[in-house]
C-alpha cells in the first residue's frame, strides 16, 4: 500500500501542474492505469445544462472521447456513480450494467469507478477497466478516489477560470462601451461587478429610428456564465421588440412571453423607458424593477411614482403599465439595480433614502460620481451594481 501511495504522489507532482486540463487528465489516467495494472481509463465530465456525462479524456479507450460519448446521469455505470457519489465496482460488464456499448465491445470484463467531487457537487466520473476478469478491491477504490479528488480540484479551477473569463468577455461585449450622444440630454453610467461572483446586471441605451431614446436597466437572477448568457439574450430580444413596438409596457410583455417560452427557468427584473427627442417626456414601464429616482432642480430627489409590474418569468400573460413622466429642464433621472441599495441588516427603504439623498439634479457625470461615492464609498459591493443617469439639459445650456 505504501508503494502505491508513493505512486499516487506522482500524480500530484509539480510537473503536472504545467499541463493544460486535457493533458493533465490523460497523464493522470495513464499513471493510474500503470499503478493499477489496468487496461483502460476514462474521465467523463458533467455537462450541467444537459445533465449528461461527456467523455473528456481517456487512455486505452480513446474512441470514447473521439465519438463524444454521453451518458445521462442516473443511467449505466458512470451515471450510477454520479448519482450515488461513491465508488462502484463492477465484476460483470455487459449491456445490463453498462450503457456505453464501446465498453463491452472492447472486451472490458471488470470495472471500477469513482466520482469527481468538489464541495459536495459531482463534476464527473473517473473509471478504470480491465480486459481480464479481476476483483477490484476497496483499496483500489481508495487510491482511485485520491486521484479523482486531485482531478476534481484541477477541473474545477479550470472551469471556474474559464467561466470567469467568458463572463467578463460577455459583460464587456454587452455593456455599452460608449453612451449615445443625444441633443438636449446628458448620460452617464457605471457598472461594477460584485465581489466574487459576477451576476447578470446590465443597462442599455440606444436611439430609435423615431429619434426617441430607449433606456434599459435589468437584473437577471443567478450568477456567473448562465446569468450572463441569459442577460445577453434578453438584451438582444428587448432591442428587437423596441424597434417594432412603441409602448414600453408592450415591449416588456413581449420580452416576458419570449423568456417564459424559451428560458422557462429564467427570472429577471427589467425597466424599459422611452424618452421623447428633446426629453420633454419619458414613458417608463417596470417589470419587477425599482422605479427611477427623480431629481428636479431645487427639489429633494424621490422615487418616481410609477405603477409596479410583475417581474420577467413570474406569471404567464402578465400585463404591465406605462407611466409617462414630464421632465422639466434640468431634471435628472437615476436608474439603478438593487445592488446599489440592498444591504443585509438594513431595510430597503433605508437604502432608498440614502440613494435619494445622494441624487441631485446635477450634470449626469457629476451625479453618477456623487452617488457612487456616497452609497458605495470604499466598501466592495457584494452584488453587481449598475447605475445610469439621464438628465434633460437645463434651458439655455447649449453644450453638445
Amino acid at each position: 500500500m505504501e508503494g502505491r501511495l508513493r505512486d499516487i504522489q506522482s500524480i500530484t507532482d509539480a510537473q503536472m501542474s504545467e499541463l493544460d486540463d486535457q493533458e493533465f487528465l490523460v497523464e493522470l489516467l495513464e499513471r493510474l492505469k500503470a499503478i493499477l495494472q489496468a487496461d483502460t481509463a476514462a474521465v467523463l465530465l458533467l455537462d450541467f445544462r444537459s445533465g449528461q456525462l461527456i467523455a473528456t479524456a481517456a487512455s486505452g479507450l480513446e474512441e470514447e472521447v473521439r465519438q463524444g460519448v454521453r451518458i445521462p446521469v442516473g443511467r449505466g455505470f458512470a451515471g450510477r456513480i454520479a448519482v450515488e457519489q461513491k465508488p462502484v465496482i463492477l465484476d460483470h460488464v455487459d449491456h445490463t450494467t453498462v450503457l456505453n456499448p464501446i465498453l463491452w465491445q472492447k472486451g472490458i470484463r471488470s470495472m471500477i469507478g469513482v466520482p469527481l467531487l468538489a464541495g459536495g457537487r459531482v463534476l464527473g466520473v473517473l473509471h478504470i477497466g480491465s480486459l481480464t476478469p479481476r476483483q477490484f478491491t476497496g483499496r483500489d477504490a481508495t487510491l482511485l478516489q485520491l486521484a479523482a479528488d486531485r482531478a476534481a480540484m484541477v477541473v474545477q479551477s479550470t472551469q471556474s477560470r474559464a467561466d470567469r473569463m467568458a463572463v467578463t468577455a460577455l459583460q464587456r461585449s454587452l455593456i455599452p462601451s460608449a453612451l449615445p450622444t443625444v441633443a438636449g440630454a446628458e448620460l452617464a453610467a457605471r457598472y461594477v461587478p460584485g465581489s466574487g461572483i459576477v451576476g447578470g446586471d446590465w443597462y442599455d441605451v440606444f436611439t430609435l429610428p423615431s429619434g426617441e431614446l430607449g433606456l434599459v436597466m435589468g437584473d437577471v437572477a443567478g450568477s456567473g456564465l448562465p446569468a450572463a448568457v441569459i442577460m445577453g439574450r434578453m438584451r438582444s430580444a428587448l432591442r428587437a421588440y423596441a424597434l417594432e413596438t412603441r409602448d414600453p409596457a408592450e415591449v416588456l410583455d413581449k420580452l416576458d412571453r419570449k423568456m417564459q417560452h424559451f428560458e422557462p427557468d429564467a427570472m429577471a427584473t427589467v425597466l424599459y423607458a422611452v424618452a421623447d427627442p428633446g426629453l420633454e417626456r419619458i414613458r417608463v414601464s417596470l417589470a419587477g424593477h425599482f422605479p427611477p429616482i427623480v431629481a428636479c432642480p431645487g427639489e429633494a430627489a424621490k422615487p418616481a411614482d410609477i405603477a409596479t409590474g410583475m417581474l420577467i418569468g413570474l406569471a404567464p400573460d402578465a400585463r404591465r403599465h406605462t407611466t409617462t413622466l414630464n421632465l422639466a429642464p434640468g431634471t435628472l433621472l437615476c436608474f439603478f439595480t438593487d445592488g446599489l441599495i440592498e444591504r443585509p441588516g438594513e431595510l430597503i427603504d433605508e437604502g432608498l433614502a440614502r440613494l435619494c439623498q445622494a441624487v441631485a439634479a446635477a450634470p449626469a457625470e457629476t451625479a453618477c460620481a456623487r452617488v457612487m461615492g456616497a452609497v458605495i464609498g470604499r466598501e466592495a459591493a457584494r452584488d453587481d451594481i449598475a447605475l445610469l443617469m439621464l438628465r434633460r439639459r437645463p434651458s439655455g445650456d447649449d453644450h453638445a
Binding site: I197, G199, D219, A221, G222, S223, D265, M267, T269, G288, H289, F290, T308, G309, M310, L311, G313, L314, A315, P316, D317, A318, D338, E342, R343, P344, G345, E346, L347, I348, D349, R382, D383
Partner: protein
C-alpha cells in the same frame, strides 16, 4: 436533497419551512432544494416561514418564484408568512405579492383556505 439548515415542521397537513434571516446566493440553492423536495410529497399547501427574514435578494426571490411555479404545476399552493419590512416591500415591487399569497403569521398561512391567487387560469 433536503438541506438540514432549513428545518421543516408539520402544522397538521401543511409543511412549514423556516427561511433564514438572509436569503442570498450563498444559501438560495439549499432552501430551493428543501422546497422542491416538499413539492413532491403531495401536500395541498406549503408555507415558507419568512417572518425572521430581513434580507432577500434576487437569488432569494428566484427561490420563491421557483417554488410557486412548481406548486402551480403540481397542484399545491405556496404561501409566505412575512412579518413586514424589506421582504414585503420587495415582493410588492416585483409583483410576487400578486401570485404568492402572503400572511402576517405562520398560523394564518397554515389555516387559510386555498386562495387560487397564483392560478392564472382563474384570472389575476
Amino acid at each position: 436533497m433536503r438541506d438540514a439548515r432549513y428545518p421543516v415542521t408539520m402544522a397538521g397537513d401543511v409543511p412549514v419551512v423556516v427561511a433564514p434571516e438572509e436569503i442570498d446566493i450563498t444559501n438560495a440553492a439549499g432552501l430551493s432544494a428543501t422546497l422542491l423536495d416538499l413539492a413532491a410529497q403531495g401536500h395541498a399547501a406549503v408555507v415558507i416561514d419568512m417572518t425572521k427574514t430581513q434580507f432577500c435578494d434576487t437569488a432569494g426571490l428566484q427561490v420563491l418564484v421557483g417554488a410557486h411555479r412548481r406548486g402551480l404545476a403540481d397542484g399545491h399552493e405556496v404561501r409566505a408568512a412575512i412579518s413586514g419590512g424589506s421582504v414585503s416591500r420587495i415582493l410588492a415591487i416585483t409583483g410576487i405579492d400578486r401570485v404568492i399569497p402572503q400572511f402576517t403569521s405562520v398560523e394564518d398561512a397554515v389555516s387559510a383556505p386555498v386562495s387560487g391567487l397564483g392560478d392564472h387560469r382563474r384570472g389575476s
